[in-house]
């Protein structure tokens, strides 16, 4: 079996020198071959050794195994003899068995787990829901989670659903849902989407295609071209925008069978007013709520009409003691509380959705403040004016590039989208949560009362550009706001915030700067610090007046900490100052608010009542931002917030600026 070449020449005498030469040459070849072979094997073995040390298992084991098999095979093949071949087969079989076992390990483990009844880890999926309507969709997701099982009845997914308001979602999308050091000094400073909004979603239930378009644009601008494709979003149902009119008023103004008038919304409002005095009309905050924003398209056509309409809406909110509810859920909760207490003199008409009204009617909880009402709620008839539009719920999948399991999550998200859109008979249908499925054909809707079940979807379609235009129009037309900012300048505000490298006071200055940057041309602002040196209660850094800007925050930078806070007197005198600064005459209508940032509650309880009385005797809204050791649960703050005109917000040290942003987004949007 030798591979040496043979020589057939017959003469030994002639052959001898040739043989010697050949033998010598062969020996030389053999030696050089052996050397090369040995050095080659050595290299392979060195690489194996390095791989085992550098590459983590299982890669190192596979690499080392493959290298060993290669080296052995090559050596044995070069030196093959019968007994070597047998050895080779045994060694190869053993090596291949080892490698096969190693590679097949996960599959065998999984199969064994199936045999023994254990289940694989279900795919984790995160679903983002809109702030309005979240409980209904969350129930649907829960049903899906229970029923999404394989043949062994093992759960295929673990779905976690949560909700967040649209502006927060927009901000998170702008950052690609990651905290970003590049924005450390900008509008998004200190904003960490995973902490402040929630987990990065794999599926997002949006309230309109326009939102999905805007989201895609934000992600594209961030470099995430393939994360979201608006064209792939699945329609999962719709709900009409409606004007909910108190039953008695509806019957007087419109009579039976007139729920879908052709007249535009402003004309319908005039028709309502024709029944007596001006009917209050309320809605949620257009900046926070896509529903309220979409209503703007029907509320006014030109600037003059817009200003008048916004004044009327502000007046109504003020009279109803509603403030600026962020969502329709909050709005309806406050109305339910007002109705229950019997305080509301005239029930207002409400600009909302059929879905929100169905939940209101059903008595289901409307947030933490309005638990389940077994008596159910009622009293409103929905009006479906032509051209008002609909919310069209979309399920948009997000395929994050850096997630190795993005495909698995996307597959589950697709199944969930389909489930949400089509339902599963009695287990779940969009109608069960007040939403009309795309093929709705007059079926009953949960919580329906005097609904027009046969209404067809509107032709109206909103685009992302339309959203931006409406927001700009609102910003220009809304009533002017007067705000007095009072910042706690006591010693404790000098406490550094971990991870920020700045003190509470310095972060408050950043918040004030951002807030003043949002002023409209008709807005007025003032700036105080408290306490003041020399035993004074507060320092007036800026009187309440228009044309303030972010540069005015510099007035705070040289502030020297002072001890001896008298918060309650500051509050009472702040309300006085706002009233004194109110514009007079025809343009007198506006919103007045005092925003106070403090890290300690005033321990003197004796004048809490005086603060509440003073605020309630005015039209001023008071917002207290409690930071550091201060808590909204402190007895004095808790006693103050019984007044609907006084709100308390808590902010962690590093969230001071974002809390300011959120509040001023509402006040000055």
């Amino acid at each position: 079996m030798s591979s040496e070449p043979t020589d057939d020449s017959g003469d030994p005498a002639e052959r001898a020198p040739t043989d010697r030469a050949r033998t010598a040459a062969a020996g030389a070849r053999k030696r050089s071959f052996d050397l090369a072979e040995v050095s080659g094997y050595s290299t392979v073995l060195i690489v194996i050794g390095l791989a085992a040390g550098v590459v983590d298992p299982p890669g190192s084991v596979l690499l080392a195994g493959a290298g060993s098999v290669f080296a052995l095979t090559h050596y044995l093949w070069r030196h093959r003899r019968p007994q070597v071949l047998r050895t080779m087969i045994v060694v190869l079989a053993a090596a291949m068995g080892f490698l096969l076992g190693y590679v097949a390990h996960p599959a065998i483990r999984s199969a064994w787990a199936n045999l023994t009844g254990d289940c694989d880890d279900p795919v984790e999926l995160t679903v983002l829901l809109p702030a309005d309507g979240a409980p209904g969709f969350a129930t649907a997701v829960e049903h899906f989670n229970e029923r999404y099982i394989d043949d062994s009845k093992c759960k295929r997914a673990n779905v976690t659903a949560y909700s967040a308001p649209w502006p927060e979602v927009q901000r998170a999308l702008l950052l690609g849902w990651e905290a970003d050091e590049d924005h450390a000094d900008g509008e998004l400073a200190g904003f960490a989407p995973q902490r402040d909004v929630g987990p990065r979603p794999d599926l997002w239930v949006a309230e309109s295609a326009a939102q999905v378009e805007l989201a895609e644009a934000s992600l594209d601008a961030r470099g995430g071209d393939d994360v979201l494709d608006a064209g792939d979003a699945a329609a999962i149902g719709w709900t009409p925008l409606v004007m909910a009119v108190p039953d008695a008023l509806f019957d007087r103004a419109f009579g039976d069978g007139a729920q879908a008038p052709a007249a535009p919304l402003p004309e319908l409002l005039r028709q309502l007013d024709g029944q007596g005095e001006e009917v209050p009309v309320v809605r949620s905050d257009p900046v926070q709520s896509p529903t309220a924003l979409m209503f703007l398209a029907s509320l006014y056509d030109d600037d003059a009409e817009a200003v008048q309409m916004e004044k009327r809406l502000a007046r109504s909110a003020q009279d109803a003691g509603l403030g600026i509810p962020a969502t329709d859920t909050d709005l309806l909760c406050k109305l339910a509380q007002g109705a229950a207490s019997g305080e509301a003199a005239q029930a207002p008409a409400v600009l909302t959705t059929e879905r929100a009204l169905s939940r209101y009617n059903s008595g289901a909880p409307l947030g933490d403040e309005c638990p389940f009402d077994p008596e159910q709620r009622s009293g409103y008839t929905p009006l479906y004016p032509e051209g008002l539009g609909d919310l069209r719920y979309q399920a948009a999948r997000l395929h994050w590039d850096d997630d190795p399991w993005a495909d698995e999550r996307s597959a589950v998200a697709e199944d969930l989208s389909e489930w949400l859109a089509n339902g599963e008979g009695p287990v779940w249908s969009p109608e069960a949560v007040g939403v009309r499925s795309d093929d709705h054909d007059g079926e009953r809707i949960d919580g329906e009362r005097r609904f027009l079940l046969g209404r067809e979807p509107s032709e109206e379609r909103f685009t992302g550009d339309e959203f931006d235009r409406l927001l700009a129009s609102y910003s220009a037309s809304r009533v002017p706001t007067s705000v007095l900012l009072a910042i706690d300048g006591s010693l404790s505000m000098g406490t550094p915030i971990s991870g920020e490298g700045r003190t509470r006071f310095e972060l408050a200055v950043e918040g004030v700067r951002a807030a003043l940057g949002n002023l409209g041309p008709h807005d007025a602002a003032g700036l105080w610090t408290f306490p003041a040196a020399g035993g004074e209660v507060y320092d007036v850094l800026l009187d309440i007046a228009p044309e303030r800007g972010p540069q005015d925050a510099d007035l705070l930078t040289g502030h020297q900490p002072v001890s001896g806070v008298d918060l309650h007197r500051t509050l009472i005198e702040g309300v006085d100052a706002l009233e004194a600064a109110e514009p007079q005459g025809a343009d007198a209508e506006g919103i007045a608010a005092m925003v106070v940032l403090t890290d300690g509650a005033d321990r003197d309880a004796s004048d809490v009542g005086a603060v509440v009385d003073r605020v309630e005797s005015s039209e001023v809204s008071l917002y207290v931002i409690a930071v550091g050791d201060a808590s909204c649960r402190a007895a004095n703050f808790a006693d103050m917030t019984v007044s609907p005109q006084i709100s308390c917000l808590e902010a962690q040290g590093n969230q001071i600026k974002s809390t300011f942003d959120g509040l001023f987004g509402q006040l000055w949007s």
Binding site: V38, A52, D56, C154, G499, A638, Q652
Partner: protein, 473 residues
């Protein structure tokens, strides 16, 4: 002759060469085998220009002490390319679980250290998403708390800060001596029944019984305090005739609905009815608003009360049946820097860090030393006033201003240190199941609505349903 010698030399050389090659190959194979088979992983810290990624829920410590500790680590090690960076997650447990589970499940390498709620450890260890920690020194840790990170005898996580159920009470209404001897819910019922009549409270205890994970913990404590035994693995028998089902079908509804015991429906229940819709914040608000004389909550809320307030004095004792919670730190199996990751964990759970977490952060430490330190300081103050130490919380020290005031820039000792230490040492375990999250969802999913409807729930299938949840069905 000369030719033969040359030929013999050649043979000799070839033989030597072959022998050498064979020996070399054998040595190489042996070396490779040694590396593969008996390889000890390198214990050298792995350097990188990228910081270690530490996934933690939002830092709610009093002064963001978690962040400060990582800052401390960076001050020492960032220049040597061992820096670390916190990725803060939502403080809501379900949301934090979702992020951590998705990350670990995908095997993504951008996560090194992860903060885990105690019940998640077994699940992630079983799925091999987290690494076994090697060479851990357990000395100094409170045994019960350390054990929460051990699965099948292997250490997978070290405790960062701890939690345990505590019972807060309004001192003006409750005989403190009665509370110190509480052995279970039977004793607690007696105390509540003594306190409630004629006081105008809406209920006895404010708890967290909304349909979320808090429900599972609160009810689990209720079961343990009601005499339900746990098996060695922490599981409980939910069979049709079991003690657990008897408590859930009979006693718990009675504690929520007085009418089930033949009392007037208008009389105050032992457990505030609104607890069924309350989380931590709501229940605390109910207690602070004076709706109940008792509150079941976590240790960290103690510092939010003013124990010397004129109209609202709060005391605390361990909650009967109180179970352990808190955050532990583990190394992701996909981390490319496991050694330095473990070193960071050991730093964050070390004695110095735990002292800071306890003293400044307001959380329950996982080691003994901070408690002994606080107790020694309290005793010192007492001795300075010629008093002997007693059991429970020394409000007299605080309310006289002796310990409540800052002395020479030092924070006052945590006066509840002794009570808290005792609660942690005696704490029970949460359900010892691999899929705790699924278990918890099934548990509150099955029970919450049934209890909220006001009757006695029928729980014959409870055991079966919970078993399915644990098995992933």
């Amino acid at each position: 002759m000369g030719e033969a010698r040359r030929s013999g030399d050649r043979r000799l050389n070839r033989r030597h060469l072959m022998l050498g090659a064979g020996a070399g190959a054998a040595a190489g194979l042996f070396g490779a085998g040694y590396l593969l088979g008996g390889r000890e992983p390198s214990r050298d810290w792995e350097r990188s220009k990228d910081p270690l990624k530490v996934y933690l829920p939002r830092d709610d410590t009093a002064n963001r002490q978690q962040v400060l500790l990582v800052d401390q680590w960076n001050m020492r090690y960032a220049d040597e390319r061992f820096g670390a960076e916190i990725v803060e997650l939502s403080p809501i447990a379900d949301q934090a679980y979702s992020v951590v589970h998705a990350k670990l499940q995908s095997g993504a390498s951008g996560i090194d250290v992860v903060g885990l709620d105690v019940p998640w450890i077994a699940e992630f260890a079983a799925e091999e998403y987290i690494r076994e920690l090697e060479g851990v020194d357990r000395a100094g840790f409170i045994d019960q708390i350390f054990a929460a990170g051990v699965v099948d005898g292997r250490v997978y996580a070290l405790p960062f800060h701890s939690d345990v159920g505590m019972l807060y009470y309004r001192r003006e209404f409750v005989d403190e001596d009665r509370l110190r001897g509480l052995r279970g819910w039977g004793d607690l019922r007696e105390v509540v029944d003594e306190v409630l009549p004629g006081t105008g409270f809406e209920g006895g205890i404010a708890m967290q019984l909304d349909a979320y994970e808090g429900f599972t913990v609160n009810v689990w404590e209720y079961l343990l305090a009601g005499g339900v035994d746990t098996a060695e693995d922490g599981s409980v028998d939910f069979g049709a005739d079991s003690r657990a089902v008897e408590l859930l079908e009979q006693r718990l509804p009675e504690d929520l609905y007085p009418a089930l015991m033949g009392r007037s429906p208008d009389s105050a229940p032992r457990i505030l009815y609104d607890s069924l819709y309350s989380d931590e914040r709501d229940s605390l608000s109910a207690f602070e608003a004076g709706r109940t004389p008792f509150l079941r909550h976590w240790p960290r809320v103690f510092r939010s009360f003013d124990p010397c307030g004129a109209d609202f004095q709060v005391g605390v004792v361990p909650m009967p049946g109180g179970v352990l919670g808190g955050q532990s730190l583990a190394v992701s199996a996909a981390s490319r820097r496991p050694v330095v990751s473990q070193a960071l964990i050991e730093f964050l759970t070390g004695p110095a860090a735990q002292q800071l977490i306890f003293e400044r952060g307001g959380y329950a430490a996982t080691r003994h030393e901070p408690y002994y330190d606080a107790l020694a300081r309290i005793a010192n103050i007492g001795e300075g006033r010629g008093e002997e130490g007693g059991e429970g919380v020394r409000y007299d020290l605080l309310c006289d201003g002796e310990a409540g005031e800052e002395v020479a820039g030092e924070a006052p000792p945590r006066l509840e240190a002794g009570v808290l230490h005792a609660a942690l040492e005696d704490a029970g375990r949460r359900p010892g199941v691999e899929r705790y999250t699924q278990f918890s969802r099934a548990f509150h999913g099955l029970l919450h609505d049934a209890l909220a409807q006001g009757g006695r729930p029928d729980l014959d299938r409870l055991g079966e349903e919970l078993r399915d949840a644990v098995e992933g069905r």
